[in-house]
Assembly symmetry: C2
Homo-oligomer: 348 residues x 2
């Protein structure tokens, strides 16, 4: 069905376990992809290390698959400054990958590396979509409902203007409509109370922008409403979003520690918790960011998916499939249309 070939560039040196998890993720893409889906993978990074990982994990599948390796010398670490790729390390896998994507040699770029560096490099090289003030990164949170909720921004923009929040809402709505199949995603504005009068001037202005838009705006939502699933898309400044995201990621850790300490108290506890391990795995799985396998940078002229540094091979695989889906759905076009049209209509 899909006649188009999808050429995906991968930052093979990105994640904490690179290039092992990246290579395994690529292998599992070729193992699982439908026969009529034409994928080409471009692995970017230290050629020797990539080849060693392929040797270790590939069972002969890659030999007949459409992939290539582009060697780069420099590596961007998680501690590097976000601007390092632009200023110094242009021969890094991260920079090269985005460059290839911008030059049209790849349809998307996928990285589990330094989020800040991917964001700033892609923002500069890819540029912004027409009508977008600030590109943004969102994150999915589990909810009581069937679908997770998308919170954005989670760190790309510390200080946000009302207009940015409105644009995040537009981009988040389009993304969840296209990628999760939601019909009229409910949009909430993160605040410290439900009343329209809550929050500072920026939030008041954002409320009125959202209210007068054609989005399915349900009003202010509070911290507790994220996991309740009250809204499908929740917009906030990147400071608050980042703090909640990191807080949420640590909740599982604390539960596990407390359960372990409970289990170690006596043999009965140990046995009971041992019996329940499979249950926990299932329940905890939903709280696991890896399940969602990366999030896009929304608002740039390109398809760039970023994953957690600890992304598993499964997460890498998901990120690749997500990038393909995003290309197919032509999400950027839809964002451009919505925001340039709304610029005319709202004059903001």
């Amino acid at each position: 069905m899909d006649k188009k070939k999808f050429r995906i560039a991968i930052d093979a040196m990105g994640g904490d376990f690179a290039p092992i998890n990246e290579v395994q993720g690529v292998i599992s893409v070729f193992e699982t992809k439908p026969p009529d889906l034409d994928i080409e993978i471009i692995l970017i990074g230290n050629e020797n290390k990539i080849k060693a990982s392929i040797e270790q994990f590939d069972k002969g599948l890659l030999k007949n698959s459409n992939y290539s390796i582009i060697h780069t010398e420099e590596v961007i670490t998680m501690d590097d400054d976000p601007t390092v790729a632009l200023k110094k390390k242009k021969n890094s896998s991260l920079y090269k990958g985005i460059e290839l994507h911008c030059q049209g040699y790849a349809d998307a770029f996928v990285s589990a590396g330094n989020t800040g560096a991917v964001l700033s490099t892609a923002t500069i090289l890819n540029g912004r979509i027409n009508g977008v003030s600030r590109p943004t990164i969102g994150s999915f949170f589990p909810t009581k409902n069937k679908y997770p909720s998308l919170v954005l921004d989670v760190g790309a923009n510390i200080d946000t203007k009302a207009r940015y929040l409105y644009e995040f809402a537009v981009m988040g709505s389009i993304y969840t409509t296209q990628m999760l199949g939601l019909e009229h995603p409910k949009v909430g504005l993160l605040n410290i109370g439900e009343e329209e009068s809550k929050g500072n001037d920026t939030l008041l202005e954002a409320y009125s922008l959202l209210k007068s838009s054609n989005l399915n705006f349900i009003g202010n939502v509070e911290g507790r409403d994220i996991l309740l699933g009250k809204a499908d898309v929740i917009v906030c400044d990147g400071f608050t979003g980042n703090v909640i995201l990191k807080f949420a990621e640590s909740v599982l850790d604390l539960f596990k520690t407390k359960l372990k300490s409970f289990a170690s108290k006596n043999i009965l506890n140990t046995i009971m918790l041992g019996l329940l391990k499979p249950a926990f795995k299932k329940v905890f799985a939903e709280f696991d960011y890896q399940k969602y396998g990366g999030v896009p940078i929304l608002g740039i002229n390109g398809v760039v998916i970023i994953g957690h540094g600890k992304s598993s091979p499964m997460a890498i695989q998901n990120m690749i499939y997500k990038s393909i889906e995003q290309i197919k759905k032509d999400i950027n076009k839809k964002i451009e249309y919505a925001l340039t049209k709304s610029i005319l209509s709202t004059n903001n």
Copy 2:
């Protein structure tokens, strides 16, 4: 030992289950208090309802205990505007209680009612401690360590200046030293990265104020560090703090929902989870705000403890004991000394 009598005024109409939980909390104070602790309780609210609750729950203990009822007609609801007590409902239990405290008829005021209304009423009637710019409310979060961490502000001040954050740190340090017995509580500044250069101008300025103070400042902490227990006192603006607090309160709910849905899938799951119920109760207990039983408004000239609307009788009891401890430790004097001294030394 304690010759002093502690006169505690209670907002009997405050919580979601008022006056039932309030009355039960008072009864259990008289049941559990050491014989040499001289307590007088002033229950403020609808006399008939209070008496009915006493009749229902008291087994003859109150008759010989030192308590009184002050009748008030008006009730402040959770949905009322924070300024309602000051502007309109001066014959409410909330207003009367704070007024009694300010006039010297009670040594402390305890309420599980409308937090915003208690805060604004107490700030106006009690006034601020010398040296304090803005009173603040903190909240305890469970950690991997023995002690919880105190996050403040959690909603009293949406927009904060660097100086406020510094004052929150001073007040939080004194409170945890006195109430938890910590020797040199570690203070962290909530931020989106550990590097000193992270955050907006306010955070940069707060960082430098904290660094040059005599507090045990450990630098920036991130969202994940709250539950890790990296710092004993974590300061942030009230918007972020409020969102995290409400988010944290909803985590348990989501876990419970997911576990229930898992249990309902088949009989084996049901049995396993049934067996583990006592375990969960213990593990979850630490995540339960009620355990900590209320938090003080720090920075006002008085002792006012506020609790969650859903405060149990046990939480009410804890709040009363906490108010007494706070009086005994003379925390406000220590705050005044620290902040007036530091005004001279830092010139901020």
